[in-house]
Amino acid sequence: MIEVLVSILLLMGAAFMVLASVGVLRLPDLPTRMHATTKASALGAMLTMAGVAFHFGDSTVVARAVAIVVFIFLTAPIAAHVIGRAGYFTGVKLWEGTVKDELRERYDVRLNRLESGPEADEQPASPEHKSSNPD
């Protein structure tokens, strides 16, 4: 019974890893590729580690598997953010199917400034909303 569960988890993990690499090959531009690698590989690693933990069922192995998953979840989004940001600001072209880009017009290349734009005006409204609905 436990072997079936372990096999399913390992196969699913491997499948997500394969999808992540296919995504890197197929997707058209840098940010969409980052989508494929961050999410699919994080989930793939998590499923594989769950399979390992169930297979050994030993507390030291389980602790290490949990630690590996935690570290992947801590580091993967930061790496994706840094790569995506560096790519965007060094002028990598977005895919032609991109529907909107609210960042471009607010970024001052000469001064290296990033304006917050009209959305910042929504900010004062939010604490008011929160105090009217205390939790």
């Binding site: 991109t98 960042l103 959305e119």
Partner: protein
């Protein structure tokens, strides 16, 4: 945060005093420490609301895992089928989070969920720029992100 630290410290004290270093005993120590902090939290200001935070954290983790699987299936479907269904774009999302830690946590969680990737924070730290993969319905995406942020802040504050 400090409550979690005290809980761990109490669990370690329990393990050393009972003299058996096993996972089950550590778990028992954590449970007793949690109960002790639950009694103490009304007297000690830094511990205020600690016992409420753990169930919220669990609820958040369940919600987060659900979203993670959902987002992966969506992205996987688009990668595996020959036609592109995605409509990528960059949107500006006003933040309610204020401290560095809250912004870090929210942008990380956003990077890990439904076809969204945080690109940058504006200089005044009020707006987060997000690259989204499925911009078919921007209002829906924004309300989903708002819901996610609300849940994160509930755990953090």
């Amino acid at each position: 945060m400090i409550g979690l630290f005290w809980n761990l410290l109490l669990a370690l004290a329990w393990v050393t005093l009972t003299g058996s270093v096993t996972a089950m005993n550590l778990l028992a120590g954590l449970l007793f420490g949690y109960a002790a902090l639950m009694v103490l939290q009304n007297q000690v200001p830094v511990l205020k609301g600690y016992s409420r935070r753990i169930p919220r954290l669990t609820a958040f983790l369940v919600y987060f895992l659900k979203e993670l699987v959902k987002s992966n299936l969506k992205v996987a479907y688009d990668v595996a089928t020959p036609v592109w269904h995605m409509r990528p774009g960059v949107i500006a999302f006003p933040l309610r989070a204020e401290t560095d830690m809250e912004i870090l946590f929210i942008s990380s969680v956003i990077s890990l969920t439904p076809g969204t990737l945080s690109l940058d924070v504006s200089d005044d730290r009020k707006v987060l720029f997000i690259h989204a993969m499925f911009l078919h319905d921007e209002e829906e995406l924004r309300s989903d992100l708002r819901e996610l942020e609300r849940r994160v802040l509930k755990v953090m504050r």
